[in-house]
């Protein structure tokens, strides 16, 4: 053999813990940054990453991945996929890039936190590669949308979104900042890599890729599924950390972190991924419903893997399963009704054919969500457009920062989950959101939701104009119906037919 096999030298490359003497162990690894689990360096040295990779393998494989993704982009550049795409699909891309691109770049620094502060040398090396991965994801997901920026001002939000106080971005930042930017190294490994990346990123990067392939957007399908190949490696950083915590009697603390991260991810995906899968993606291109993708990726794959690691299903499992039927319909209705406040054009997705599909996938849709849409549709058909826009703010949850909502119509069950804490009244969208807050109130209590800011007079003037200004979203960027209400023609025709029949 002229070259050594990887495993002959791999262990040496991750034998890098030493005993510091010029500074103390706590100075080198401050507990608040490393993870205060009272475990010494030696406890972490048994950490064994299951998905192994070396530096030379990394640069080779990643070069190959990039060559694939960039060449597909180049080859399809002239095929005018974007120009010819259904407006609903364009909105999918806009929502995705805005909410994801710079969040991924930020994750590089969360990985760098694990690299610098983890006491497990194997984790430090894997996080080095994970950090690089996240630079890739940030950079690609800025480079790919950039070619469309000259065609559509909303595409500017692929970059701009994270700099704004747009409400969905406050929610996205609140979640990502909570699980990855403000946590210690071990918590990042559990909350970001294990909870989020082995679970939810599959929804956005593979579930959505399936829809993209159906919609003919091969550049996007290829890009996001390639990104997920990195995730599937560095997502494995958290698993061995969990095993060490469980082995050292810290299961409850690990479980709590998983439960908080999983819930936050669920809420964010209910507003980001749910509407784009079940409403924006043209009906004929929907591979599965959002709920079916959730069952495939989160219930069957992620939760099964979680219990295999020795954790329990989250205490709120039944609530979660129930929410799979409901929450994202409300998030869609909300972001659609408040459409001037989003940077994409939501597709209503409620033609008779689409409603039949929704009813099939979500039995009872018509007598619940459909009842709200009926009123909306009548207003569009009647030309009462002022009634199709809001005149106040939805109340948002002090945990997930998203509207507090529930099932409308015949099964109306909307409920607030309030909490008095240190003299302030907080509102939550569910029992679980309130529980998350209560696990560490000081992380969240001082934060102001967009409604809190409005009430504090930080949004001026106190109307839609002031709100849009505060969110840094202006005409040309503000969302409106993706299809310019063309879909309402079907209902207009139906009404004419009915009138004629009654005449």
């Amino acid at each position: 053999m002229a070259l050594l096999n990887r495993m002959e030298w791999y262990n040496l490359a991750r034998t890098t813990n030493w005993t510091p003497t010029y500074v103390t162990e706590d100075e080198l690894f401050p507990p608040s940054l490393s993870g205060d689990f009272d475990l010494p360096l030696t406890a972490w040295e048994v950490y064994d990453e299951p998905y192994k990779q070396t530096y030379p393998e990394y640069v080779k494989v990643q070069r190959e991945k990039d060559a694939g993704a960039y060449s597909v982009k180049a080859a399809l550049e002239r095929s005018r996929i974007f120009e010819n795409a259904d407006p609903g699909w364009k909105s999918v891309m806009k929502a995705h890039y805005g909410a994801i691109a710079r969040g991924e770049y930020a994750a590089a620094s969360a990985e760098a936190r694990m690299m610098r502060f983890s006491k497990a040398p194997g984790m430090r090396n894997m996080s080095t590669l994970g950090c690089m991965d996240e630079i890739r994801h940030g950079q690609m997901q800025l480079y790919f949308p950039h070619e469309h920026v000259s065609k559509d001002r909303q595409m500017d939000w692929a970059f701009k979104a994270y700099d704004t106080n747009e409400w969905a971005m406050i929610a996205a930042r609140h979640f990502f900042d909570d699980i990855m930017m403000t946590r210690d190294a071990i918590s990042v490994s559990i909350m970001l890599t294990f909870s989020f990346e082995t679970g939810f990123t599959n929804m956005q990067f593979l579930g959505l890729a399936a829809d993209a392939a159906e919609a003919g957007d091969h550049t996007f399908a290829n890009l996001i599924s390639s990104i997920q190949t990195d995730e599937s490696r560095h997502a494995q950083i958290g698993g061995p950390a969990l095993k060490i915590l469980i082995a050292n009697g810290k299961k409850a603390e690990a479980q709590k972190r998983v439960d908080i991260a999983l819930w936050g991810a669920w809420k964010l995906f209910s507003v980001l991924t749910g509407p784009i899968m079940d409403y924006y993606t043209p009906l004929e291109h929907r591979k599965q419903s959002f709920k079916e993708f959730m069952e495939e990726w989160i219930v069957a794959q992620f939760e099964r893997a979680l219990t295999d690691m020795g954790l329990d299903l989250p205490w709120y499992w039944d609530i979660f399963l129930q929410e799979l039927n409901d929450t994202h319909h409300g998030m869609h209705l909300g972001s659609y009704f408040w459409r001037p406040t989003v940077w994409w054009n939501p597709a209503a997705g409620v033609t008779p054919e689409e409603r039949a599909w929704l009813e099939e996938k979500y039995p009872g849709w018509n007598e619940t969500w459909g009842e709200c849409w009926d009123v909306f549709i009548d207003n569009v058909v009647d030309g009462n457009m002022e009634k199709t826009y809001p005149e106040t703010l939805p109340y948002v949850c002090n945990m997930c920062q998203l509207p507090i909502l529930g099932v409308p119509g015949k099964k109306w069950n909307v409920k607030d989950y309030p909490l008095d804490y240190n003299g302030r009244l907080y509102h939550f969208g569910s029992e679980v959101d309130r529980w998350c807050f209560q696990q560490d109130p000081e992380r969240y209590a001082g934060h102001m939701s967009i409604v809190d800011r409005f009430l504090a007079g930080m949004i001026q003037p106190m109307n839609l104009e002031g709100a849009l200004k505060y969110m840094n979203i202006a005409p040309g960027e503000c969302g409106d119906d993706a299809h310019n209400y063309a879909w309402a023609e079907t209902y207009r025709a139906l009404r004419e037919t009915r009138k004629a029949a009654n005449a």
Binding site: M7, P50, F205, A212, A221, Q228, K291, L321
Partner: protein
């Protein structure tokens, strides 16, 4: 109730790779059959990705994939198209193993 259907999705013991579509995925499907002779291999093609699963444990060998591909292949080249996987993973120089430690 549809929540029961969701809950049932959790009751499975299927493990294995989720590959991006392409010639490597096809080679992995064939290798899965060869390297796990006593197991039924489930293939679910979602166009953008393909689930390749077996009950409880699946082993993929570098030599088998290389043979199926008809070109040199190193085990960690699997990553180029390995978008996700069900179960836990164990990586070796010349093989990879997907498995569960528990049964439901």
């Amino acid at each position: 109730m549809s929540t029961q259907k969701s809950a049932q999705a959790y009751h499975n013991n299927r493990v294995g790779p989720v590959m991006r579509a392409g010639d490597l995925a096809q080679a992995v499907i064939e290798a899965a059959k060869i390297d796990n002779p006593d197991k039924e291999i489930f293939v679910d093609d979602k166009r953008a990705y393909i689930r390749i699963h077996a009950e409880h444990e699946m082993i993929l060998r570098q030599a088998t994939i290389e043979e199926e591909l008809g070109r040199p292949f190193r085990m960690n080249d699997l990553e180029v198209d390995l978008s996700s996987f069900a179960g836990q993973i164990e990586s070796h120089d010349d093989s990879v193993r997907f498995y569960f430690t528990t049964k439901v």
